[in-house]
Symmetry: C2
Subunit: 160 residues, 2 copies
DNA sequence: GAACAATATTTGCATTTGCAAATGAAAGTC
DNA sequence: GACTTTCATTTGCAAATGCAAATATTGTTC
């Protein structure tokens, strides 16, 4: 007998949402939203990214990210520069202000993680992370069957 | 040296977003969104829920859920009835149509989970689920310090 | 039992989101 | 070198979201 509340997607989503919501509230005083933090932390780890790369890294949809980068630029947190050699791409970077802000926030994120995994051993934590990464990869397997479902959907829509 | 991409929140969010996005696309042909599926699956597990309970169970914010239930009612998937004995609460239930639809979708969700954890042993999977549930609980510990951050925020706002 | 506090849900409003189409720029192709 | 194709990003538009305020109902206190 299936139970939503014992399913992996449910448990994952629940903990993800909760953590995000708590972290959002925690950093609201810095005038940053959670997506902004994600962008800054991603750029802190790897600067000079193109929009598409950053979208992949942050799991933020590209059009959403494009606009988000716009508001972050207005806030002086990031820079967006069209490249001279390939002007259809754009290089996104942290500004000094963005860098120093994210360096204030990262310790808070670290603290959150520490609290979250307080009950587990170091090995338990690395195993968990490996597991999560492996699941992410396994999900790729689903693409073909989803593409087929979508193709059928498009076909029946053309009909109508 | 901190790395966003090796942090627990990042890994959790990433796999959650991916799975959600794939599942959304998979079920789009049934004219259901992911949040709708979540509501139906929650009601399938436990019917006759009040809005607040359902919000807690699905991790959907209450005002969002209120409106979502509205559109689902219009689609004939759920019923919403004010109680006679306590008319400030509302009882939400699946309709026959909603029930049969969710019973079509659950096997798809089960399949997704199967694929996601294909690499792991049964024990590995139960352990993972237990871990996720424990982390969820641990996060509660953070509430007090967040409340304090929010209080300070409110105080400085009153100033301004 | 009238006034006030507490609880549950809904709504107003501004912002965010995401798909699909549009734009801008570089790469073939002939 | 004008042409279509492909690639990367942005924008139009309608829908979804979330906070805070409003509403509706019950509970409490005097």
């Amino acid at each position: 007998m299936y139970q939503l509340t014992n399913s992996l997607p449910y448990l994952l989503n629940r903990v993800g949402v909760r953590m995000g919501e708590l972290f959002s509230r925690r950093i609201a005083g810095y005038d940053v939203t959670l997506p902004m933090y994600r962008v800054m932390a991603a750029l802190w780890e790897q600067g000079d990214q193109r929009l598409g790369d950053l979208a992949g890294m942050t799991s933020i949809e590209m059009s959403t990210l494009s606009r988000l980068i716009g508001t972050m630029k207005r806030k002086g947190l990031v820079s967006r520069t069209r490249l001279k050699d390939n002007a259809r791409t754009v290089a996104i970077n942290l500004t000094a202000k963005g860098k120093s802000l994210v360096e204030e926030l990262i310790p808070i994120a670290v603290h959150f993680e520490t609290v979250a995994v307080r009950e587990f051993t170091t090995k338990g934590v690395t195993d968990l992370k490996t597991t999560l990464a492996e699941i992410y990869v396994s999900l790729g397997t689903l693409e073909p069957e989803i593409a087929e479902a979508e193709a059928q959907r498009r076909a029946s829509k053309r009909q109508a």
